[in-house]
């Protein structure tokens, strides 16, 4: 790793950061090492590997991993790298299997990563220590269906790391309306920019009325009114450890409250269809209230957003390239008509052809382009610094368009980079 020209303290201050944060390749390398291999990184939702033998590929930083569910239903996160001479043992994004067989010389590994088979083993004259040559396993812990992994054996337990964010994750999962939340397809898109540009955006309400004007114009009047988020009394809260939450629609914080509120016109047909299917009125209301998702975005440092109605997953590719996945969510075992409504809502805004995401991607691209100039200039992150207030829970919050979430993320960034 190259020595960095500027110390981290000079790069990131309390309310501003230097432009080179987006453009310095040496810094990107350092981030992969000091952040992504040292902290908890989200790799899967449990529903993506629901049954024994199921697996999916993921990355922790740039390192390829496989998330598996073994026969005893335990979850493993394994480095996708053969212990013989490094080939990947899995090139399928998701599926079911009994084992992973390396395509180069045929070493075979179980779902728990243990080395099960070595062709022509006699050449090792009985000296091959199979027990020590399983796929490298990462420390893996879960919280409310979210699976995280880390290369760092010293790190605090996941629950301590999530700390103040746990309450918001629990609230987010209420959009299952009593059914378990299930991943239900995903949009993957990339933009030519640094990963932190996207990280910042998850708690950036400030851009919404401008960048998403086309969305606001094309959606129905109820949704347009709902998304008037600059004027709805929302706020952004620093949850500690780099995490934050942006409350856009305070009335949709707890989806199990206010079930007696009138059913929006846009969901009147769906509500009737649910009644026709025999659902009790109370359950109809619970589903209707949950179907559009939660009224907030939780930004978990460094790579997961529990964003209104979907998971937003960040994948750094290079200092100037980032992949973003928007994973749609469904009620597992819930009414199909409501899950289809969720898919259509997701398609309307998200993904490379949605009416929202391409405009986000475009402005992030523009940030990266602009950041090629003015390396000595600051990125200003000081919205609401003068008006922040403490919450009853001991956290600090700013108004809805506050940049407090970004300040929280960069504080954690600096802490990890300096460690």
């Amino acid at each position: 790793m190259k020595d960095l020209d500027t110390p981290f303290a000079a790069l990131v201050q309390d309310d501003k950061a230097l432009t080179t944060l987006y453009t310095d390749p040496g810094l990107f390398e350092a981030e992969m090492d000091k952040i992504f291999t040292k902290t908890w990184v989200w790799v899967a939702h449990e529903s993506e590997i629901a049954t024994p033998g199921s697996y999916k590929r993921a990355r922790v930083g740039l390192e390829p991993v496989i998330v598996t569910r073994d026969r005893k239903k335990n979850i493993h996160v394994l480095l996708n790298r053969c212990r013989h001479r490094a080939a990947t043992v899995c090139e399928v994004s998701k599926g079911k299997t009994n084992s992973f067989v390396c395509p180069y010389h045929g070493w075979a590994y179980g779902l728990d990563g243990s080395l099960r088979g070595v062709p022509y083993e006699e050449s090792y004259a009985g000296k091959l220590e199979r027990g020590k040559l399983g796929l490298k396993a990462l420390r893996t812990e879960t919280y409310n269906g979210l699976v995280f992994a880390t290369f760092n054996d010293e790190i605090e337990p996941l629950e301590d790391f999530l700390a103040g964010a746990k309450k918001w994750i629990d609230l987010f999962m209420k959009q299952g309306a009593g059914y378990p939340v299930k991943a239900n397809g995903e949009h993957k898109f990339s933009f030519p920019g640094n990963w932190k540009i996207q990280l910042e955006n998850t708690t950036d309400a400030y851009h919404f009325p401008l960048v998403h004007k086309p969305f606001l114009k094309l959606t129905d009047v109820e949704t347009e009114e709902q998304f008037d988020i600059m004027n709805k009394g929302g706020w952004v809260e620093d949850l500690g450890n780099g995490h934050s939450v942006m409350i856009m629609m305070p009335e949709l914080v707890d989806l199990e409250e206010n079930l007696d509120a009138p059913i929006p016109d846009k969901f009147a047909d769906l509500a009737q269809a649910l009644r026709d299917e025999g659902h009790e009125e109370q359950q109809v209301r619970r589903i209707i209230r949950a179907v559009g998702g939660s009224g907030f975005n939780v930004n978990l440092f460094p790579n997961l957003g529990c964003s209104a109605a979907f998971f937003r997953v960040l994948q750094p590719v290079s200092v100037t390239e980032t992949e973003v996945r928007h994973i749609a969510l469904a009620m597992d075992g819930g009414p199909e008509i409501a899950n289809r409504e969720r898919l259509r809502i997701h398609e309307f805004f998200q993904g490379p052809m949605g009416f929202g995401s391409p405009d986000d991607a475009e402005v992030w691209d523009r940030v990266q382009q602009g950041a090629q100039g003015g390396k000595e200039l600051w990125l200003l992150l000081n919205r609401s610094t003068e008006t922040e207030e403490p919450t009853a829970e001991g956290t600090v919050k700013g108004d809805v368009s506050s940049e407090i979430g970004m300040r929280a993320a960069y504080r954690q960034w600096k802490k990890l980079m300096e460690a």
């Binding site: 898109f189 898919l343 490379p352 009416f355 405009d359 475009e362």
Partner: protein, 164 residues
């Protein structure tokens, strides 16, 4: 052309001419005419997963009925969308046509499409299999369904603020 030739034998040519016209209208930005090429309950679909046929039950990039198609056009022309101003220039070629079926009313046609996009000093290309369901209405044809299966649909795409 032999006047005795049954309708069916010209179906492939009729269908090809019709989807070429659709392609040209999209590239030339004749969107009002384009919107008029669809039957009332038609769908324009860009699926995510290869092989999916029950599109309604799966996540798509686009799953557009008439209202959504009109909105997509409005977004492109409205001038508010930063990713659609300027609108990408597109040039598309359709080839490898195959008539899959024709029952006298409905034609199923499959072809390939390669589309080149140019915007903000960058060229990109999108290659797809396209499945058309065309219906004979009055003297001509209408699109009842168009499914665009990008060959890299289940991988990472960049923003596409136009119609494939």
């Amino acid at each position: 052309m032999d006047m005795m030739t049954p309708v069916k034998d010209t179906a492939l040519l009729d269908a090809m001419a019709f989807v070429w016209l659709e392609a040209d209208r999209l590239d030339q930005r004749e969107f009002d005419d384009w919107l008029g090429m669809w039957s009332a309950d038609a769908k324009y679909i860009v699926p995510v997963e290869p092989g999916v046929t029950d599109f309604e039950a799966h996540l798509n990039y686009a799953y557009d009925d008439a209202v959504m198609r009109a909105k997509r056009v409005e977004r492109m022309m409205g001038g508010d969308s930063v990713s659609a101003s300027p609108l990408a220039r597109t040039v598309r070629a359709l080839s490898r046509f195959r008539l899959l079926s024709d029952d006298g009313v409905t034609i199923e046609l499959r072809c390939m499409q390669t589309l080149t996009e140019y915007r903000r000093e960058r060229m990109k290309s999108h290659v797809a299999d396209v499945e058309f369901t065309l219906v004979r209405e009055g003297a001509g044809l209408k699109i009842a369904r168009k499914v665009v299966r990008l060959i890299n649909a289940d991988h990472t795409l960049s923003g596409i603020s136009y119609i494939l």
